[in-house]
């Protein structure tokens, strides 16, 4: 089947003005998402995951500025004709009226920032249906109750009248998920959707999203640091570091054949239930301060495999397969051959064996 493009981000750069100077949070991001597929974005805190997807929803903090780039979004009118728009060129008002909530819905990382503390959660779930689709009140109420049940909230009818502060952290997060699903979006962006949820409910929510995804062929972007969740849901993975995508590939390519030293570090830092190590592996150092311009490979100072060239030039994306690319000079034909750390290699071997 022909893959249909939904979201195409090209060369996105975003800078924030702060009292200490400009912060170059996003430095040339490219992303591709196709209909019905699931993309995961992983990467350290502050690497720019949330800012990237918020830009795709036309949301940018007041002190933020888009320096360059396009975010093309393709959707279908009610009669089926496709239309492609550049979100960055649209008016805020039009985005709110035609795109946000209705076609693209986002589950935000901080549940409280997207919930209104003065409004019952029932009202908040119904609001979008009434505003975007003029759904009659009773119908909206019924759908809201059934959504609450679907996200695993017991006593759903009684909870409809609760205010956000009367719910536990994970219940609030599930309300936010119910709000996002209420308007039947075509593209669902989940920013750490299950971080406040325990594993059993997490599994339930992920399965719910997967089911809806299959039924309606919607596209999903997951931002999460939980590599177990990524393993479960994602078709493709983008690894982000210091405002750039440094490796992209299919889920199996990233987990079984990682090529970027930063990805090696991320995979090595996962706690391994099969071992009883006393210290977790951590990537040495900390991410670069994006107040200062980056020269060379942003990861070089933390990379024991760094080459001389890494201090001077930022690596381009090297192609490994049609779907797998990584931005590391180690893949340059002239570079010395470097293998991933032995512990990681052993672990991947174990994973592959288990997978057979």
């Amino acid at each position: 089947m022909e893959r249909e493009k939904v979201l195409t981000v090209r060369d996105l750069s975003i800078t924030f003005t702060t009292t200490a100077g400009p912060v170059h949070a996003i430095r040339g991001v490219n992303l591709d998402l196709y209909r019905g597929e699931t993309l995961a974005i992983v990467g350290e805190s502050g690497s720019g995951k949330s800012v990237t997807v918020k830009a795709a929803m036309g949301i940018l903090a007041k002190n933020g500025k888009v320096d360059s780039g396009t975010i093309e979004y393709t959707y279908h009118h009610d009669d089926g004709t496709p239309e492609t728009v550049d979100i960055l060129k649209m008016k805020k008002k039009d985005i709110r009226r035609h795109i946000n909530g209705k076609r693209i819905a986002m589950i935000f990382q901080d549940p409280m920032t997207s919930l209104d503390p003065t409004m019952t959660i029932g009202k908040q779930i119904m609001e979008g249906m009434i505003w975007h689709y003029k759904t009659p009140k009773e119908e909206a109420y019924k759908k809201a109750v059934s959504l609450l049940k679907e996200v695993g909230i017991t006593d759903a009818e009684a909870r409809m009248g609760n205010y956000p502060h009367q719910l536990s952290g994970g219940m609030r997060q599930r309300v936010v998920i119910a709000i996002a699903l209420a308007c039947d979006p075509e593209l669902l962006i989940c920013d750490e959707p299950t971080t406040a949820l325990d594993v059993t409910i997490q599994a339930k929510i992920l399965e719910l999203i997967q089911r809806i995804q299959k039924e309606r062929r919607i596209s999903v972007i997951y931002i999460t640091h939980d590599l177990g969740v990524v393993a479960k849901v994602a078709d493709f993975v983008n690894v982000m570091y210091a405002g750039r995508i440094v490796e992209t590939g299919t889920i199996n390519e990233i987990y079984y054949e990682p090529a970027h030293p930063y990805t090696w570090g991320l995979l090595s830092a996962m706690p391994d239930l099969d071992t009883n190590d006393h210290r977790l592996y951590t990537i040495p150092g900390s991410p670069p301060n994006l107040l200062h311009p980056v020269t060379g490979d942003a990861f070089a100072p933390r990379n024991i495999y760094a080459l001389k060239i890494d201090d001077r030039a930022e690596p381009p994306m090297f192609k490994i397969t049609d779907t797998h690319y990584a931005a590391t000079w180690l893949l340059d034909p002239r570079a010395p051959k470097v293998e991933m750390p032995a512990e990681l290699k052993a672990r991947i071997q174990r994973m592959k064996k288990e997978a057979k």
């Binding site: 409280m112 952290g169 994970g170 325990d198 594993v199 640091h225």
Partner: protein
């Protein structure tokens, strides 16, 4: 068990919330456990099971409905006098699940972190105060210039580290860490967890570590308590719980841990557990002592049946 006296004893704690005239939430319904000095007690359980409420009751953000909380030899479950309040506010710190909810948006991060020092006069001069703040920022992986930013100018994970810095700077005997690493990415989770372990070794702080990420809980905790619907169903050392889970809820929880192995994970099904159809009644039964420190809640028949498996 050792002869050591517990730092914290929670006895039959109940915390109810009256939502309306005919709807009361029994968030915590008779929970008993101890935390020893310098140890890490992990509290796990599904969303809404009462984990945060237990933490909040212990630090006395609520008045417990019933039960006893003894901290460092003092009963803190009733009315608190001035001295007890001051001791509680310095010796016990909480790192919250919602980083923003407790960070004043109009204050710079440096002031937020220094607040506890100011209130309890824990420095001789400005310089000492500044040094303490810089040191703690560095410890949690933030730069000194971050002190001049406001909370909303941080990423989610960076904000969480501010919350951790704020608790650590007081050098407390007990830190209640409510999902304090859930919002962090794996590599920083690892840094923070290693950091918490280092600080524990250095200062002997005990942690009540509330989390749902069982792989991290396994890694950091000495002992674990499994909570469901306000009841503590099983407790024991990490080894006892992970190697020999007895309660069906614990078993389903352990079986739901996602594995970072795509091929395995995409085909895995977790053991299901539903209280409504399980035939169990959490209000009936008692705590049964198994081997070592391992305890499980249930009726005699239930426990015998689970053990026979």
């Amino acid at each position: 068990m050792s002869e050591k006296t517990p730092l914290l004893q929670v006895k039959n704690l109940k915390q109810y919330f009256k939502v309306s005239n005919n709807y009361t939430v029994r968030a915590v319904d008779g929970v008993t456990f101890d935390i020893y000095p310098g140890e890490t007690y992990g509290l796990v359980g599904e969303s809404g099971s009462g984990k945060s409420t237990i933490g909040r009751s212990i630090i006395r953000l609520y008045n417990p409905t019933e039960g006893q909380i003894i901290f460092d030899g003092t009963d803190i479950s009733g009315k608190l006098d001035k001295k007890a309040t001051a001791a509680l506010r310095t010796q016990m710190q909480m790192i919250f699940q919602d980083p923003m909810a407790c960070l004043n948006p109009r204050k710079k991060v440096g002031e937020i972190i220094g607040e506890g020092l100011d209130i309890h006069h824990l420095y001789a001069n400005r310089k000492e105060r500044q040094d303490k703040i810089d040191r703690i920022l560095a410890k949690v992986g933030l730069a000194p210039e971050h002190a001049d930013r406001y909370p909303h100018q941080f990423s989610g994970g960076q904000r969480q580290r501010v919350g951790i810095a704020r608790a650590l700077i007081m050098n407390p005997k007990l830190i209640i860490a409510d999902e304090c690493i859930s919002a962090l990415d794996v590599s920083i989770q690892a840094q923070v967890v290693n950091l918490m372990k280092d600080i524990q070794e250095e200062t002997g702080t005990a942690y009540l570590f509330i989390a749902h990420d069982l792989s991290m809980v396994k890694y950091i905790s000495d002992r674990i308590g499994v909570l469901h619907l306000g009841h503590l169903l099983e407790t024991g050392t990490t080894e006892e719980i992970f190697a020999h889970p007895v309660h069906p809820y614990t078993r389903s929880l352990l079986s739901a841990i996602p594995s970072p192995n795509p091929v395995v994970e995409k085909s895995r099904v977790a053991e299901s557990y539903d209280y409504a159809t399980s035939g169990l009644d959490y209000n009936a039964g008692s705590l049964h002592q198994l081997e070592g420190t391992h305890q499980v809640w249930g009726t005699d028949e239930d426990v015998a049946r689970w053990l026979a498996k």
